[in-house]
């Protein structure tokens, strides 16, 4: 008993080491969070507060950034504004205090919706195709399996701009430019490589004996796949889906080159938010905050699977 304890303590760092390590890591984590905290704070600042020098840490929070993000406004004379009825909403009130009236909704919400439709659509397809292919590669002897797997991976290694040139021409011919369908197909193709690699790893971990037992029980191969393998692979499929979702959500290069209007997603749109006379930083910060929140949630959900996801399943804990 005592020898076991001492053997363990050899590799167990001393209390002082732990404390110093902890302090440095926490310090790094805090510093690394400053930019994000700053963006979050800026989204609640008024435009003058956002560009004051020295930068304001203490300020009166306002929803002006969020109001400006979701609306377009026009400047009016104070007399005209006085002649209007009582303000309809908090945004109405804030806008009027700047001598402006709300002219209509901005493009932020439609772009956000596009991002969701394209991200979920492509994730569903990529995971669906990826699960089938991964099962095929995991369980059957496929000729040239290694070459095919490498081919699948290599498609993800291509520089996006280089892929975008012929895709741009092809989509122009097929009428897929600036359509959600075109973007869904493109992101599916990019994500399916990740999905196959990750899911193959997860399915490899499910013992073949489970299916074999089910097949002895009279299940066909397809039934065994549906009723035995799929339920076992749920965690892996969910993790893969979140990785695909994050990629499609964050993607910029294809989006900026292949969409311009009706199918534009959030990442190319957010940098184009500008106010009267220069950047409207609180509105940009508000748009960034809303865009990043889903990613934060997903990162926390995924934290145990992150390592696998970023290495295409090569490294598992």
């Amino acid at each position: 008993m005592s020898s076991a304890t001492s053997a363990h303590s050899v590799v167990e760092p001393s209390a002082t080491t732990k404390r110093i390590a902890g302090i440095i890591v926490v310090l790094y984590a805090v510093i690394t969070m400053v930019p994000l905290a700053w963006i979050f704070m800026t989204s609640f600042k008024s435009p003058p507060d956002s560009i004051s020098y020295p930068p304001k840490v203490v300020f009166t929070p306002t929803l002006e950034g969020y109001c400006n993000l979701f609306t377009t406004r026009t400047r009016q004379t104070p007399e005209y504004i006085q002649s209007l009825g009582p303000p309809q909403s908090i945004c109405d009130e804030i806008t009027r205090s700047r001598n402006m009236v709300i002219a209509g909704p901005s493009n932020y919400w439609p772009r956000f919706t596009n991002s969701m439709v394209i991200a979920f659509g492509s994730t569903f397809l990529a995971v669906f195709l990826g699960t089938l292919a991964a099962y095929g590669f995991s369980r059957f002897r496929v000729p040239l399996a290694d070459d095919l797997m490498f081919f699948i991976l290599s498609t993800r290694m291509m520089p996006p701009i280089a892929v975008a040139i012929p895709i741009y021409l092809m989509y122009r011919e097929l009428g897929l430019s600036d359509t959600a369908l075109g973007m869904i197909l493109l992101y599916t193709a990019v994500n399916v490589s990740l999905a196959v690699w990750l899911l193959k790893g997860f399915i490899d971990e499910i013992p073949r004996e489970y299916e074999e037992a089910a097949m002895i029980d009279g299940y066909t191969r397809l039934q065994a796949f549906r009723k035995v393998v799929l339920p076992q692979a749920t965690t892996g499929i969910a993790a893969t889906a979140i990785f695909c979702l994050i990629f499609a959500w964050n993607e910029y290069a294809f989006a900026v080159l292949l969409t311009s209007g009706s199918a534009q997603t959030s990442p190319p749109f957010i940098p184009t938010i500008i106010g009267e006379g220069g950047m409207d930083w609180p509105a940009v910060a508000a748009g960034t905050t809303i865009f990043l929140v889903p990613i934060l949630v997903f990162t926390i959900l995924l934290r145990k699977q992150l390592l696998r996801g970023i290495t295409f399943g090569a490294v598992r804990k």
Binding site: G22, I161, I165, V196, E251, R303, K317
Partner: protein, 322 residues
């Protein structure tokens, strides 16, 4: 056991009952393994052929022509290898390749040093290390374009938080330097953002490497009275090396293709000081509309990335074998 025996009986009974009429469901359900394998794999391969390989072949074809995407009806001329020759002798493109190399080198160096150190410290397993690891990982999950855009705000010369903190620490007036606007600082402003964003990536892989080293090796070294320093250099580093290599190769490939973050931070400027290969390619293809020549450049980049990817997969398999 008993249960499965009865199901076998049931199954054979069922089989006898349904063996004569061959229904569609049965025909699909009874597909041979080989047929199922192809049925499952083909859709993925077909999609990749349609969205990746067909356009690639198209690009190869265009790279031998003078095609311009903004004049689709102009007469197409074959120009042979002229595009490749022009790309490889174009000094602007070589400058872009140098800019890319500079960016890749410094980001990898910084990220490996900081990332490995962090992983080493986290592996001391202080209280709360799991929570702080998750916090540190957040930047790498964000959209590089959106990250680039909000760092542009932090880098503003007069009002930006970055300039303020630097001037607070060093005493230099905050409006005396422009991170994004000056020729000497702009490349570093990109390296800083990339390091902020991707150090967690290297850290996470290094952490896996450190955790893969079994305790008994350290215990044996302790018995042999190897110093902590010696243990670090003869056990920790060599055993974590394949993981570090994996991180370096992956970051190398990703940063070689870097487009979105740089586009949003500097757009390649000032002048062309931060114009990495992908931005040059974008300008050739979608601003100058020299589609043929841009395709040739794209193919050259493909080949380079493909070479790197090959090395990457080999390294990957080595890590897997452990």
């Amino acid at each position: 056991m008993i249960n499965s025996d009865t199901t076998i009986l049931e199954k054979s009974a069922k089989h006898a009952a349904t063996s004569t009429p061959v229904s569609l469901a049965r025909r699909i359900g009874g597909l041979s393994d080989r047929a199922i394998a192809w049925l499952f794999i083909t859709p993925t391969i077909a999609l990749l052929l349609a969205i990746n390989i067909f356009p690639l072949i198209w690009a190869i074809r265009l790279s031998f022509t003078n095609y311009r995407a903004n004049r689709p009806n102009a007469v197409l001329e074959n120009v042979g290898l002229q595009n490749y020759h022009r790309v490889l002798t174009d000094s602007d493109i070589w400058i872009a390749m140098q800019t890319t190399a500079h960016f890749v080198f410094w980001t990898i160096l910084l990220q490996t040093l900081i990332g490995f150190s962090l992983a080493y410290l986290i592996d001391r397993k202080f209280r709360g290390h799991a929570f702080w690891t998750t916090v540190i990982l957040i930047p790498m999950m964000l959209s590089p374009a959106v990250v680039g855009n909000f760092w542009r705000f932090l880098y503003q010369p007069q009002i930006g938080l970055f300039n303020y903190i630097v001037s607070y620490v060093t005493g230099v007036p905050p409006s005396s330097f422009e991170m994004l606007g000056s020729v000497s600082l702009a490349p570093w402003s990109i390296i800083i953002v990339d390091t902020w964003m991707w150090t967690p990536y290297v850290m996470l892989i290094c952490l896996a490497g450190l955790r893969s080293i079994p305790d008994y090796i350290y215990e044996a070294a302790e018995v042999d009275r190897a110093s902590a320093w010696r243990q670090f250099w003869s056990i920790t580093i060599p055993m974590a090396l394949p993981f570090i290599m994996l991180a370096v190769l992956f970051r190398g490939i990703e940063n070689f293709k870097m487009f979105d973050m740089v586009m949003l931070l500097t757009g390649g400027g000032p002048g062309s000081t931060t114009e990495v290969a992908s931005i040059t390619l974008k300008r050739e293809a979608f601003e100058s509309w020299r589609t043929g020549r841009a395709s040739a450049f794209a193919i050259i980049l493909f080949v380079a990335v493909f070479g790197l990817a090959n090395i990457y997969v080999k390294a990957l398999n080595k890590v897997k074998q452990r």
